[in-house]
Symmetry: C2
Subunit: 346 residues, 2 copies
């Protein structure tokens, strides 16, 4: 039976890349083990937040990274270039660093890739940078052989400065939970495109930088904005569960208050996908002290990217680490995406 | 003849990834066009230096990125993990930021990759981080499908603080050119391994972080250290040509003074490779004002990573943008690697 040994060798699976529990386990066991030295980071690798926080002089520097492997690289509403810039700008912004000091861009492309596509992607990155007022300051370009990479990947890292840091772990009971926009567009539009399904509906990813929107939030809310998070790979459900777990609170969400378009709900049903469990990239989740909730909502709705903002629930001192969904006919826990979560969605 | 149109579509080639003129042209025409806004960067994307420099409060922050696609990922003397950390630490260090504030790590791995290999790579990254006193503060892990990526790629971006910035463009005539170690080990060892050639000689990559070595240099040399550069993908020849071109000086190099081991020279001859044109990752090139050359050399030779340091030539006010090699029997220009330069060497 010795010849089965190599078959039993543990291998990486697609589930390890979905950003949920399997990713956390893998990363905890391999890619953070041995990296206990966080230097003088105030928020570091072991915190699994959207970015790290480092003191530099009297400033708080936020640093983050994401490699974008989205498939297909061109999709309704955007492409990998717009996604790469938005993803990193938004990771900085939800940590409180709405002013981006610099992005880096690490492009890896397959030999034989059409130059015209690379140019379109670069144009799209540049446009998103202008939108976010975020300069690319350093870059790297590598080419892998034809057949060694499926198209193109783009890593974007970024640095920004935060006056008030907004981690995903600082919710207190009674804090109001706000989402800044409708949920699920990016994931549903991408998967519909990937599956080649042509819905009657006009499904488009809402991929966009929201640092300007979150700057408006922080200007009004200030320190009363206790937590912010980017509901990317694991969707609204994954992000809320993570906030509840890290903040050691429960979160109560009223289903009918969560803004989801009819098109997304309909397409989700046809694709067998829960809009709460699918990736976003142009939406943020906020935790806001009760007294600041109304002014923050007003500021959001005054902004073109925040018209659909809604208070969807609140943090509670019960059901710690869980998200309770009031469906109108009863309560159930809102679960994180399970192992079937989709790869290469961002 | 219409059916040839798609054949004539311009495509990315491996030459675009070698870090030389073809890479510069591609990047200038696509990945920096439209990115003219450098924010308040003192050194930015358009400078094509080892990193960017941003003012943050009263500090100078250096930011850099590299995606590592080395093939094979395990090679004599190191692996992709050690390479990724060393590459980024050294890019920061040659800009003057020998104190690393934080690294980010963006790992992309193919589904079905053996977990044991990923763990070895992570261990190796952690070891290099300890060696460089460089904490990984933020990370991202993605999985691509089996067959969608040839193994593993690792992007490392980094931030550090520089007291005195040492760009690759500030050489003045008479500045002494110093290399901190023997040249060519990494590239020759990697290619010998890739080609499956088993030399009698003990060829090993010298991949290592040299920020500690360069801190010793700056402590002794201070502002008299006018320029530093990491001779990576395009080797010593590529780096010197770039320094000459950007500094608008010529550089004169005496062939016999360049430290190269006999093993590297011999293996290079058998492989048909010029050690001056092959990648390094554990060596730096310095430009030092004449009065500081001796103390800097003494400091280097006092350090275990600098025992083989040598003054190999000087900047001159002639042959602007070119490197003149005194071969002992006459002078010739030292050329940058041409189109045949090898892919996936770092």
């Amino acid at each position: 039976m010795n010849d089965t040994a190599s078959d039993e060798e543990e291998r990486i699976t697609l589930t390890h890349g979905t950003g949920g529990q399997a990713t956390r386990d893998l990363v905890s066991e391999t890619l953070t083990a041995g990296f206990e030295d966080a230097g003088d980071a105030l928020v570091g690798l072991a915190d699994f937040d959207d970015g790290a926080v480092l003191p530099v002089g009297d400033k708080k520097l936020v640093v983050t990274t994401d490699t974008h492997v989205v498939q297909p690289p061109f999709f309704p509403g955007g492409d990998i270039g717009r996604l790469a810039v938005s993803g990193t700008v938004n990771d900085l912004a939800v940590m409180g660093a709405t002013e981006v000091r610099g992005l880096t861009s690490g492009v890896v492309v397959e030999a034989n890739y059409p130059r015209e596509k690379l140019e379109r992607i670069a144009d799209s990155m540049a446009e998103a940078c202008r939108e976010a007022d975020a300069p690319v300051v350093s870059g790297d370009t590598k080419v892998m052989g034809n057949g060694e990479l499926d198209g193109i990947t783009i890593n974007t890292a970024g640095v920004g400065v935060a006056e008030h840091v907004t981690p995903d772990s600082d919710l207190s009971p009674q804090d109001v939970i706000i989402v800044t926009d409708t949920i699920g567009e990016h994931g549903i539009a991408l998967l519909a495109e990937r599956e080649g399904i042509d819905f009657e509906a006009d499904l488009e990813s809402d991929v966009q930088p929201v640092n300007d929107l979150l700057a408006a939030v922080l200007e009004v809310g200030g320190e009363a904005v206790t937590a912010m998070k980017d509901p990317t790979r694991t969707g609204l459900a994954g992000a809320l569960n993570e906030m509840a777990r890290k903040s050691e609170v429960g979160i109560e969400v009223t289903d009918e208050r969560v803004p989801v378009t009819g098109d997304v709900t309909g397409a989700g049903e046809l694709l067998g996908l829960d809009p709460y469990q699918i990736a976003n990239e142009g939406v943020a989740i906020l935790g806001v002290e009760p007294t600041a909730a109304e002014p923050v909502l007003a500021a959001l709705r005054d902004h073109p990217k925040g018209e659909n903002a809604a208070a969807i629930g609140k943090a509670i001192d019960d059901h710690h680490g869980r998200v309770v969904l009031d469906t109108g006919i009863g309560n159930r826990y809102m679960r994180e995406p399970s192992k079937e979560a989709v790869p290469r969605i961002c």
